[in-house]
Each structure stands twice: as C-alpha cells, then as structure tokens.
Symmetry: C2
Subunit: 479 residues, 2 copies
C-alpha cells in the first residue's frame, strides 16, 4: 500500500467513524448519482461522497478532511448550472452532500419564519409554509429537486424575484460550519438586528467557498388568495419597459412575475412541446407574460389587469392582450414560458448566457448583441427570454439551420466573450442568477476590477486560510 | 516644536494640499459643530475635521492619514445614537465628514434607481425621487439632517421597514474607499448579480470600520397615490400580534407602518407636547398606529381598514378603533407617536434600550422585563413604544416620580444588563436599529459567541489590517 493510498484509507475510516458507515459512499457506481453535472461541461471525480446527518457531523467531517489534507466540495440538490458542486479530484477531494440534513426545524407562524436544514427540498419548504397558511415565495423550475442549502449558496433567483427578491432577501439567519470546523450559529429570526457585521450575506451566494451553510431561518409571507395571469403581444421590446413602469404603479406588489419571450423561443415551444398553443392569431415579435397574486380579499385582479392593459393598448404600448379566464388557461400560458429550455434542445446546439443589465438598457442590449452575433455567424438565431422585470435575460443562441451542432458549439467561448463584453460595457452582469461556479472564474478575472478581486481574495483568505472549501470556485487563480 | 507636534502639523499641511484649505477645519470653535454627540455619552476630540469634496479626495485623505499614523472616524450627518461618529483622540485622530459630497449623481426612472453621494441629506434624496415620480421609502425622525452615508453605515431602520425593509434592502450598489486608499467601485444598478461575493452588504452596517462608503445606488418604488391611517385601542399587547397577522393578509403591501405605544408614553405625549389629543374617550393600556399607502388607483384604503378592524373588533381583538377621516386627523394621530421621545424628557431621567425579539415573543418580553425592573426599583415606569411590526421596541424606562434623575441614571448599566440578558435569552438583539458604535462593544463581547466575534475580527483584519478606520467601534477590544 503506497503512502497516498494509506492516507486515503485513513480518511475514509475516520469519516466512517464520524458519520457512520451509511454516511460514506464509495465506488464509482454508488457515487455516480452525486457526480452528475447537468450541463455536461465538467467531469466530476471525488475520493468519496460523505452524507452527514447533522451539523456537528458536518463540522467533524471538515476537521477530518483538514487533518488529512483533503479538500471539500459541498453539494445540496446538485441542480446548479455552473459546476459549483462538481468535485475535480478523485484522490484528495470529498463531496459533502447535505441530503440527510432535511428536517424543517421550526415554523413560527406569528413571526412569519421557518427554519430549515440545508438538505430540505425547496418544494418541501414551500409545502411546510403552505401548511401553516404562509407562503415561501422562492420558486423556479428545479424546485422539486433543488435543496434550500444550494438556493442559499448560489443566491438563487427564479420567477418571483420582482416581488419578493432573490434568495438573499428571503433569509434572516444562517447556521454555518466554518473552514476550521467551528459552527457559527447565526440562526436569528429577527427582522432588525444591527449588532455586528452582516456575516449572513457573506455566506449567502459564496457557493460553499467561505463556509458550509447547514440551516437557515427563512422569511414567510401571507398566502395568496387569488392569482391572475395575462399574455401580451408587443411590437417593440421598449414597450415592455414602459408597460412594466405602468404595471408597477397600477398593480403594486400584486405583480409577482413579468417574463419576456421573443418570437423565436415561442415558436420553438409551439413547434416541439405538446400542449403549447399560439397565444394570438397574429404573431408578435415579443410577448410578455404577467402573473399577479394577492392575499387581499378586496382585490379584483383580472379587472385590474384588464383596465391597465386596455389603457396601455389605447396608448399603443400593447398590440394585443388577453387575461386568462381561469386557472387552466393561465397554466397554458405559463406552459409556453416553461417549455422554452426543453424546446430549444430540438433546434440543435445552443450557446447560453445568464446576464442582467439595467432595465433601462434591455432593449439596447438585445439589439446590439443580436446584431454583432448574426454578423459574426449569419443564421445564428437569438432566443431571448427571461425575467425582464429583474433586468435578467437568458440570452440563448440557437445554431443556424442545417449546421453541424459541434461546429456551432465551437463558438461557445467566442460568443460568451462577445456577449459578456457588451453586457459589462452596459453596466450589466455576466452571472445574474446562476452564479459563477467552476464555469465563470475566467469572466471574474476579465471583468472585475483588480480592487474587487483583491477584496474577494482577502475575504477568502480570512475565512478559509488553508483553501479547504470548494477550491476553484468563484475566485480566479492568480496569474 | 516637539516631534509629535511636527507630525501633526505635517499631516494638516498634507491634508490641506489634498482637499484645499476650505476642506480642513481646525480649532475647537470651528470644529465644535462636528464634535457634538447627541446623547452626551461621549466627549469627542479630534486633531482636525476634514471635508473632502469627491471620492478621490477621500482616498487621498486615507492615504495621508495612513502615512502619518493617524486614524480616521468617518462621519455623515452626525445624528447617530451610539457614538459611532465621535472621535476620541485630539492628537492622532481625524474626523472625516462627508457633507461636501452631496450630489445626486443620477436618477434612472425606468430602472427605479437613484445614485447619491454619502453626504446627501436623506430628505433631499426623498425629494429627488419624488421629482421623478418615485418613492425612496427610508424615513425616520432625523431625515432632515441625517445623511445617506450614515444611513448605510448604520443600516438605518425607521418607520417603513415593515413594507420596504431596512436600509440594506434599499441599496443595490456602493462605492467605498478602502483602508489602503483604494476605491472600490461597486455602484451596480442591477437587481440580480451573482458574479462574486456580496461585498456591498459587508460595508453596509459596518459603521465605517471596514471602509468609507462614498456613494450608493438606491432602489426606488412607485410613488403612493393615497394614504390612510388608523388608531386602535387594545386591552392586551398579544392582540397586537394577532391583529398584525390579519392586517398583513388583508392589507398586503399597503401596510407600511405598524407602531405600538403603551399608555405611559401616550400619557407623556398628551401631558407635555402641544397638539397631542387623547385618541379615545376611554384610555387603553396599548395603542396601535397603522399607516397604509398605495400606488394603485383601484385601492380604497379607508374602506379596507374599516372592514378589517370591524371584523377584528367583533373577534374582540380590538377594543376601539378609528380611521383618520383626512390628512390632518392622520397627522394628529402620528403626532402622538412622534412626540414620545421629546415628551419623555419632561418626566426626568430615562434609560433607553433599542431591542428586537421575534414577533411571537414581544408580549412575553415586555411583561418579563417590566416585572424584573419594577421589582428591582419600585416606581420605575416602563415606557415601551416602537416598530412592533419589525419586532423592534424602544424599551425606555422613565424614573420613579420624585427621584433625583442622577440617582435613577446611576442604574443605566445595571438596567441595560437586566434588559439585554432577557432579550438575548429570548433570541433577540441588544442593537436593533441604532447600531453598536462606541456604546455597545461591551454587549458584543458579552452576548456574541466566541466564534462570531472571531469572524468579525478576521474580517476587520482582512479589510483594515492596520486598524486605521474607526477604531473602538463595533468590535470589542481583546481581553
């Protein structure tokens, strides 16, 4: 047995003592489900998968790894899109998955809070809130699989950010295992607390590089009593911004979602996904999808929508509109939006961007980026859709018809560069809601100032001086 | 001339070269306005007051002080209540006041953002937003004097936190001068940006100990079209919590303020402040004051309030209620609440607490703390009022009648200890909205875990390794 193998064996033994034999998963077949990477851009490898069942076990795992010189990749639901939970070292890296830490520790109805462990599935958190006649508003496509720990680690966005904010805004307190194995109990349920530095927000969105979030106190809201959706055909994307302005005044907080879809992604959905129907007899270059909800019994949401949209139509901001008559019609409208990512796969290769720009510059961004890319590779089909209310566009590009997908995908890095250069030039972000992970540290290096990267490095060194936590994520290597 | 005096003179010369002669204020008479401390608990001293007019000048001041071995106390409007802007060293400490950095750099109406420099008066920011038909919702008593830089440095709270959050929630980006004189331009106007660590929130609420905030991008909201207030008499404080629950469902976002007042502080206001009138013929042990606002033309707020309060009265949650008929009646109701701090001064010595507990435990806290203190010093008059919707009570104590104020005030530290012990035991905070400053580092040492204090020290050392920025604030000295 060589010395490295001995160290490896000792680490596994120590981990088994810590979390029990059922808490350590070895062997490529058993590890495989944890080593999937959704976008296929990384090939994960790990020495073992460890499944601690409580916070003290997470702390013990961290200490054991520190002593053995192993590094740790924390993982929750493994639904991330930037490789942040993909370990890269079969010899000296442990995948620490939190799925066994899946208890809802407390629901405090009067305080409008819920305390959940990191391994709770988001849908289960939503259900626990609903059982207490409350709403936990975080919602997005992967909600049946993603875990709350991953939501916090990546500061997940989703459909309802316009009204309720990103995950960060939905968290009051966190419990974190630090790089030295100490546990920071920051599980405060308070809405006002200025008794020290804001440590919580440093861990949220740090993708497991500064500490391992093991539990959180989440904010709850009154449960909506009613819901109304509308679809709108627009001749110009600028009209979406002007309309959003009117809607925010007319509908206030009831406006929870405002999604844009170009004609191209709508056509993809109509062509490939069952149950998607053409929204209007006339096709439009742009569509807006709105959702309003309210906890107030005095609200009459469809009437509010009709009045606002009628007036906007008279002002030529809206070409055509329809308020869903009932739940099933609303579902049919949202089906179009939710089908876009799947539909795009039938159109060949797709190069993806998760960007944001100021609301006032969305139209300019889409025009400018589309023009440059189509000039660079004629036939490229921009497929923009996303959370226009937050300035967040998934600016995806489908390949020209009849091109070999591989030939198109070979442009990935070049197109990313073109798009991100334009985004950053316009005061935008190259990583709006999916995070940085192992995918975008080169973008961090290219677009962030020397001062900002240095600040991030100093924080990393202060909280994880030995670099044990998720190395290679977020912070670019020194040149 | 002794060497120390020489160094001092050289620093002043260098500062004058940096910010111009009009930017350096010396001599006790001219410095006096900057060296006031509102609560009279600290006697401020400084070598000079420096008034930089732009960010690069702030950076140059920091570098000059670093070279001269002087430390820096940043100050904005100097309206803080915990001595965070009170310099303590007439030889080697510079007071850096930001009042000359008072430009509104940009208002982006479509993006619902405003960029303001740190020395802008809060009321001027509110006015600039209003001129663009927008709302900047931060609001509290000192708004005509406090500066936005201080609001951010202390993460100020105020009247509208229930709906709009603390200052932290109202900020998208910041510009910060670091301890080494570098400038971090984090002035992003984006609502979604996960491209790195959340540096912004580390500086917000750090009271000038990690960096000097020189400008910020602030979130704006639709301007309210209507407003309605109500006063409610309650027999039990528990009823306030149950009523708040109903109001949050029935009124949704329109509920912007929910303030509690005990009978004692209301009597103080009635007795001492002109224009305060008894709200009802019958006195009640507790009063709730509500404000609803809405940007929606379809809302009918007085009706919504009447319906909800009538139903609550039928369920015996509300003893008596009245919705203000017009603006002047609403003003009269709010006058009672706003007069309490001034009225308390007429009742002799007052020992103050700025605490928060979970909403579900407010009643328990007030009962428990009042009982202990009255037992300790019979005749002590608890004077609780504040932002019950946020769990934040200003639990002030007025002296027993006919006691020498000095005798009562000699109990300050002892009473703080009693109250804070109870608060922390109940999962609450000893510093809810006024911050820590130079006043409460001993509380940080007593109530925060070793792990948390160590985290704060590590962050301080990472961002201000030489300790040049606001020494003595927030972080307790090592034993």
């Amino acid at each position: 047995m060589n010395p490295q193998h001995q160290t490896h064996e000792r680490l596994l033994q120590r981990l088994q003592q810590t979390v029990g034999p059922e808490g350590v998963v070895c062997g490529s077949a058993r590890m495989a489900p944890y080593l999937e990477e959704r976008r296929g851009r990384f090939k994960p490898h790990a020495a073992a998968v460890v499944l601690p069942a409580q916070t003290t076990e997470v702390a013990a795992v961290v200490r054991a790894c520190a002593e053995a010189g192993a590094t740790i990749v924390p993982q929750a639901g493994n639904t991330g899109l930037c490789g942040g939970a993909a370990p890269q070292d079969a010899d000296r890296q442990i995948l620490l998955n939190l799925e066994r830490m899946n208890r809802i520790r407390e629901v405090d109805r009067s305080n409008f809070t819920l305390t959940a462990e990191a391994g709770c599935v988001l849908a289960d958190v939503q259900a626990a809130a609903a059982a207490a006649h409350r709403l936990f508003p975080l919602s997005y496509a992967a909600e049946d699989r993603c875990h709350i720990g991953g939501n916090l680690a990546t500061n997940a966005g989703g459909m309802n950010v316009l009204r309720y904010g990103n995950t960060r805004e939905l968290v009051l307190g966190v419990e974190v295992v630090l790089s030295d194995g100490h546990i920071w109990n920051g599980l405060t349920p308070l809405r006002k607390d200025n008794s020290g530095y804001d440590l919580k927000d440093l861990f949220i969105g740090s993708e497991g590089t500064l500490g391992i979030i093991t539990a959180a106190v989440l904010k709850l809201y009154p449960r909506p009593r009613q819901r109304s959706s509308a679809i709108i055909g627009l001749l110009e994307i600028e009209h979406a911004i002007a309309l959003l302005d009117r809607l925010q005044t007319a509908a206030g907080e009831t406006l929870v979602a405002c999604e844009i879809m170009g004609r191209v992604p709508v056509e993809f959905a109509l062509r490939h996904i069952q149950g998607c129907r053409e929204p209007f007899a006339t096709p439009y270059p742009w569509y807006l999808l709105l959702e309003l909800t309210s906890s107030r019994w005095t609200d009459e949401l469809p009437g509010l929508l009709r009045e606002t949209l009628q007036q906007a139509a008279e002002n030529r901001l809206v070409a055509e509109w329809r308020v869903a008559e009932d739940h099933s019609e609303a579902e049919a409208l949202w089906r179009i939006r939710k089908s876009i990512p799947a539909a795009q796969k039938y159109e060949g290769g797709s190069i993806k961007h998760d960007i944001s720009v100021p609301l006032s510059r969305i139209a300019e961004f889409i025009e400018r980026a589309s023009a440059v890319l189509i000039k660079r590779l004629p036939g490229t089909r921009p497929c923009p859709f996303g959370h226009i209310g937050d300035g967040n566009i998934h600016f995806n590009l489908s390949q020209p018809l009849a091109m070999d997908p591989e030939v198109f995908l070979a442009h990935w890095d070049e197109f990313n560069r073109i798009v991100h250069d334009i985004v950053v030039d316009m005061g935008g972000s190259f990583a709006a809601e999916h995070g940085v992970g192992r995918l975008k540290p080169p973008e961090v290096a290219r677009y962030k100032s020397v001062v900002e990267i240095d600040l991030m490095r100093r924080l990393k060194a202060a909280l994880d001086p030995t670099g044990i936590l998720n190395p290679g994520v977020i912070i670019p290597p020194r040149e």
